[in-house]
């Protein structure tokens, strides 16, 4: 539904050049919720703004619903008619809602329809229908200033849907909201995605958002996509930073002598007594440092961090056994995690997720 190829954006200001996006190839399939995550300054906003050409990419192409938008003339404000029409078929929601304070809720939702030149009766019927859909039918005559953040974002979503778009772009739509409201907005996005078959590309810096609603995800670092795929694929990828951040397992090893392993269970392997078999068959003492079972992207998944006595070389056979059982096994090097600067993003993301877990 959305395809970018070789997308590059270089900002030039006062002789300095900033490469905000650096050759991004992204593919968002029809009807999925795709999350882009990354640290501040990674280029996420630049990427999403290039998708509807609010920002003209320096090079590369953007195709939305089969139409090459980069081929249409005009940039930013001076967009050609064709580009403006294409934009009206792409909905966008914003972190700070961007509702007009001079208009009522209903008038805000009607704005895109005014731009499309619809009649007054058609506009108000559509606006009321959309407000009903987002659960704000009773606020039609209120002004944005009289609404809570979550309600404002619902209006923002209703407005984005007014032109019957097939694609919804969302740049940190929940970042200004509290956790409870965030959940309800994400649920709404998920419902709309299911009910209307809407394709959603969302930007976030919260792992929780990806975990709750996304079918697929991509991790951005310094303008590049370093990992991407469906959540299932990511979890099955050894060493995936996204997978580790999506589903972290904690637990410190008892000492430097042992071998620490992270084990991921998918699907039917979740139910088998693998660990007790391991202990019995190889006569090893298995210490469980941390474990969790969760639903990620709609699938049951389990993760466990265990410690076996002795060095890794001494444990090749038990590790082989675990792999034979269809489990994903990764060696945890206790030093590496803290040192490697590339892992910083994940460590931060983990910290966020862990902090959430604690507050729950």
């Amino acid at each position: 539904m959305i395809t970018t190829s070789g997308l590059t954006k270089i900002y030039r200001s006062g002789g300095r050049e900033v490469t905000a996006i650096d050759g991004v190839d992204l593919h968002v399939r029809e009807g999925e919720v795709f999350g882009v995550i990354g640290q501040s300054g990674a280029g996420k906003s630049s990427l999403i703004r290039c998708v509807n050409l609010l920002e003209r990419p320096t090079s590369g192409t953007v195709t939305v619903d089969g139409q090459d938008l980069t081929a249409l003339a005009g940039r930013g404000p001076r967009a050609s008619k064709a580009l403006r029409q294409a934009r009206s078929r792409i909905g966008m929601v914003f972190q700070h809602f961007n509702l007009l304070s001079s208009r009522t809720v209903q008038e805000n939702v009607e704005l895109p329809l005014e731009i499309l030149g619809r009649s007054g009766r058609e506009r108000s019927a559509k606006a009321l229908e959309l407000l009903d859909l987002v659960g704000l039918a009773d606020k039609a005559k209120a002004y944005p200033a009289q609404l809570s953040g979550g309600q404002k974002q619902r209006v923002g979503i209703a407005r984005a849907l007014a032109g019957d778009p097939k694609v919804l772009l969302s740049d940190e739509a929940t970042s200004a909201l509290d956790p409870e409201t965030t959940r309800s907005i994400l649920q709404l996005l998920r419902d709309l995605n299911r009910q209307l078959g809407l394709t959603v590309l969302l930007i976030t810096h919260e792992m929780d958002v990806v975990k709750t609603v996304c079918d697929s995800a991509a991790l951005m670092e310094r303008g590049r996509v370093v990992e991407s795929g469906t959540v299932g694929e990511l979890l099955a990828t050894p060493g995936s930073q996204l997978a580790a951040a999506l589903f972290p397992v904690g637990g410190d090893p008892s000492g430097p002598a042992g071998t620490v392993l992270d084990i991921t269970f998918h699907g039917e392997s979740t139910g088998r007594p693998v660990i007790s078999q391991l202990a019995r068959n190889y006569n090893v003492d298995v210490s469980i440092l941390g474990a969790a079972v969760d639903t990620v992207g709609g699938a049951q998944i389990g993760r466990m961090r265990i410690e076996l006595p002795g060095r890794y070389e001494d444990n090749v056979v038990p590790v082989g056994f675990l792999r034979e059982q269809g489990l994903q096994v990764e060696l945890v090097d206790p030093d590496e995690e803290a040192v490697d600067p590339d892992e910083e993003a994940v460590v931060n993301a983990k910290a966020v997720v862990n902090a959430k877990e604690v507050t729950k």
Binding site: L54, R87, H96, P112, I115, L116, A145
Partner: protein
């Protein structure tokens, strides 16, 4: 001079002032609003970025604003005659008043429009709106409370300028204050004129503030209207005053 002598003079003068200020305000708004919006649009990073046009408009506005009104009036004599057929009287005074007020109002409009959140512009662009749509549906309506305050400021400034219009025989409140109060030592009439002017200005300011505040309350974005902010700034003073009173009481 008795009240019955002053009364016809005052009512004629008030009417003249109202006439001159009313028309020139109208023209200033019609001319200054597009000019102010254009100053924002043509600026660097604006929707119609055009550095040359921006510089030219900006310079013209600055020069027109820096000229003292009395000089502007003289400089515009031939232009005034071209438009009104005369260089004296109420109608002739409207021309320099309006031309002086257009750049004044345009700068205020520029400031007001610049304060509109760029996110709103972006939202309308994302909906497929063009520049004209953005001006009509975002920039002007969202800046409206500030624009009303700007118009109020312009009216008050025009009342001041119109006092000098007496020099071209246009009449008005300022004119009788000068002619009777200064030249004929009718101090009584002068003070009455001053009082009338003060009341008129206070009423205009009050109406403008009330209008701006009503729109602001509805919109409720970007903090209180300018007047309220003034009151807020004074709050610490009243607090220290009450503190002082408290100390005195306990002492």
């Amino acid at each position: 001079m008795t009240w019955s002598e002053m009364q016809p003079l005052l009512s004629q003068a008030s009417w003249d002032t109202l006439y001159m200020v009313g028309w020139s305000t109208l023209i200033a708004i019609v001319g200054g609003l597009p000019l102010g919006v254009l100053l924002v649009l043509t600026d660097r990073g604006g929707l119609l970025q055009n550095v040359v046009a921006n510089k030219v408009i900006g310079q013209v506005v600055n020069i027109a604003r820096s000229l003292p009104f009395i000089i502007l009036m003289v400089a515009l004599m031939s232009f005034t005659r071209l438009i009104t057929g005369t260089t004296i009287g109420r109608d002739a005074a409207i021309v320099p008043l309006a031309i002086g007020a257009i750049p004044f109002f345009a700068r205020l409009v520029e400031t007001a429009v610049r304060e509109v959140d760029h996110g709103l512009v972006e939202a309308v662009q994302a909906m497929g709106g063009n520049t004209w749509t953005i001006v009509r549906k975002v920039l002007v309506p969202e800046a409206l409370p500030s624009l009303i305050s700007s118009a109020t400021t312009t009216v008050v400034a025009l009342i001041g300028y119109s006092a000098m219009a007496g020099t071209v025989g246009a009449g008005g409140l300022g004119d009788i204050a000068i002619r009777y109060g200064y030249q004929r030592f009718e101090t009584g009439l002068m003070w009455v004129t001053v009082a009338v002017l003060a009341v008129v200005i206070a009423l205009i300011q009050f109406a403008g503030d009330a209008g701006a505040r009503a729109l602001h309350r509805r919109g409720g974005r970007g903090g209180p209207a300018p007047r309220l902010r003034l009151l807020k700034a004074k709050e610490p003073d009243t607090a220290t005053a009450t503190d002082a009173a408290g100390i005195r009481r306990t002492a």
